[in-house]
Symmetry: C2
Subunit: 217 residues, 2 copies
């Protein structure tokens, strides 16, 4: 655990942090539950709402089903809107009512965060136009060519552009979540969360061996 080069410490707030996590058929398990584990470690300081287009069970790409407790349309204003990726994103790209709900929620959320190919849902909804963002490294070239209005960053564990946080593939969501928790609380809180989860946090958001591994450098 090394200290960050420039810790973006923001003064802590004891107000509860409401995280709205968006389920859809074919979501990727770790994209969703890696970040939610980190937010969950905040114990009483975070409240997690599982959302989907309609309440009820939603099956992941890997098989396990999880329960949406409420509809996106009925969710309150969120501190964090969390959008995972997964094979199911391909279907949702043409689901206009779903994307419209993402836009509406993103409009009121303090932070909007995507993991892996969750970024293509934000891009498809126009939310990333003119912003810097990243995505899964195996499909990076396809994504960058399909949504040219976004400034796609090839080598990044995660990218922050104002209130928009986007991470690289799957596991990168945990590192991004800790970066976002640092913004919502402070850097030491994120380190404590990582230690409790026995997680080796990649604190440098530029750390990304998978860009080279996938021929992007």
């Amino acid at each position: 655990m090394t200290a960050p080069a420039a810790p973006p410490i923001v003064s802590a707030s004891q107000a509860p942090i409401t995280v709205g996590a968006v389920l859809f058929d074919g979501f990727e398990l770790l994209d969703m539950f890696g970040p939610l584990e980190m937010f969950g470690m905040l114990e009483g300081r975070a409240r997690i709402l599982m959302l989907a287009q309609a309440p009820g069970p939603v099956r992941s790409h890997q098989g396990p089903a999880c329960v949406a407790d409420a509809a996106l349309a009925g969710a309150p204003a969120l501190d964090v809107l969390l959008v995972p990726g997964g094979m199911g994103t391909r279907r949702e790209l043409s689901n206009a009512p779903f994307l419209a709900e993402l836009v509406r929620q993103a409009g009121t959320a303090r932070f909007v965060a995507s993991v892996c190919t969750g970024s293509i849902l934000l891009a498809s909804a126009g939310l990333l136009d003119g912003r810097s963002a990243t995505s899964n490294k195996r499909v990076f070239r396809m994504v960058a060519s399909r949504w040219p209005a976004v400034h796609w960053v090839a080598e990044a564990r995660w990218v922050e552009d104002g209130r928009f946080f986007t991470s690289s593939g799957v596991s990168a969501g945990m590192d991004m979540a800790l970066g976002l928790i640092a913004r919502l609380t402070d850097w030491d809180t994120s380190l404590e969360v990582a230690n409790r989860a026995e997680y080796e946090w990649h604190q440098d958001k530029g750390w990304d061996p998978f860009a080279r591994l996938n021929g992007l450098l």
Copy 2:
């Protein structure tokens, strides 16, 4: 990604790998879904069954509920019986019918794997007596004193004792799962899974900075 010191490569089998994952109220999200992400990356080669004492939704300690598709009692023989930890383990320690089902499933499973305090469920069922095992590092001393018939290893990311795999806290389950996938397939397959998940696998099962951090060394 460095090569392992002594790669325990086992010849690959193309037979499907059936993973039975055990839900109970108050399970820890990442204990469960970190390993299942890794098994899920095997695509057609792994089949994941979500099990619990009874079918239906089961709520995690962090809040999100997931669905048990079948009862433990009705599950087929498993290649991997996966037992997560979490605050909910404390209640299950005195749930005799649940522990009896774990013993029955463990008797026929090729491998039995626990994450974090999932090991105290195995220990409480007598499954770890005389075996080497590890557990969450924040509660390690309590665990070691309560179940003295187990050879608890303080400094380990995960421990393998025959067909029993036990990991340290929360995030360690992902590293253990990749170690177990290497045993079920081969080392290169686990590396490929880790790369697809953009996960920096701690391939050395002795890697454990959290033992020292929690004053165990």
